[in-house]
Symmetry: C2
Subunit: 149 residues, 2 copies
DNA sequence: GTTATTGCAAAGGCTTTGCACACTT
DNA sequence: AAGTGTGCAAAGCCTTTGCAATAAC
């Protein structure tokens, strides 16, 4: 059974129906490298299967999120971006000034997640974290005399 | 000079004009314990000084944010929440299931921030972090047999 | 007097919802 | 047959913007 069929099975077993729209949305989400907005998914799906409405995309993403097969993140762009959840967890350093995005491996947050779990019994969802701040370049532009060594 | 006058001075020195609206908004922000939405600030201000528009609140918060006197955070409620920035940095563990919020001291993130600074030259804005996940209770409700010791 | 700031109203963007029809199961 | 899922349209929400009038400097 292909991985696509596997996901389809998961949906069915969760009591959901499998429609061509959902399959296309699923495929668009999995084929997207990185983040996709609902609008972009809708566009991609419509390229093959016209007349699919954004509301359907949102509704499907909602189902996937509840099944923990998709995650959504606010990366400050105004719209939420979605991602296939079972991917390798990774995070982003987003510069508030220039918008530059640096990827951050999960290892930087592992210890933190563990500590929160131990001390608070809280299971943080650190599959996809957006961390805002200033990149090196923008720091220098803003505070030219600061020592950024 | 009172702390209120201090802030007023900061604004003026940054080339901004000091209006009664801004003073009220500033006061509402500082008196709020914890987070406030723009709408709530507007309501509070209007109680004393009617006819203040939400747009004015947003514009003022924008100025304060650029001066790093206020922070905004998306806590998943649909609207952004604002906070007086010079407060002690602190963070929140927000349960995606029941919405319960636990406060998290800054010390949990200090090491992390430092490491990101050293290795990436990135200055993360960790004054107010929202971390989503599942609280102990909701984990047990969802996975009754999991070992959450 | 200049220039920033305000209020109002309207637009803007993303997301959600109501409803009748169609499709999966 | 039963019930979920769909498209369409419209509403909802928070936030931003244009503009003339106003107030701070």
């Amino acid at each position: 059974m292909t991985c696509e069929e596997e996901t389809a099975d998961l949906l069915r077993r969760a009591g959901h129906k499998l429609t061509p729209q959902r399959l296309m949305i699923l495929r668009a989400l999995r084929h997207a490298e990185g983040h996709v907005s609902a609008a972009r998914i809708a566009d991609q799906v419509r390229a093959v299967y016209p007349f699919v409405d954004v509301s359907t995309v949102y509704r499907t993403l909602d189902v996937l999120k509840r099944m923990r097969l998709a995650t959504s993140t606010d990366m400050g762009s105004g719209d939420a971006v979605f991602e296939w959840a079972p991917e390798q967890p990774h995070h982003h350093l987003i510069c508030s000034s220039c918008g530059h995005v640096t990827e951050l491996g999960h290892e930087y947050l592992e210890g933190f997640a563990e500590r929160i779990g131990n001390e608070f019994g809280f299971a943080p969802d650190l599959t996809h974290f957006a961390i805002f701040g200033l990149c090196r370049e923008c720091q220098m532009a803003e505070f030219p005399d600061a020592d950024t060594s």
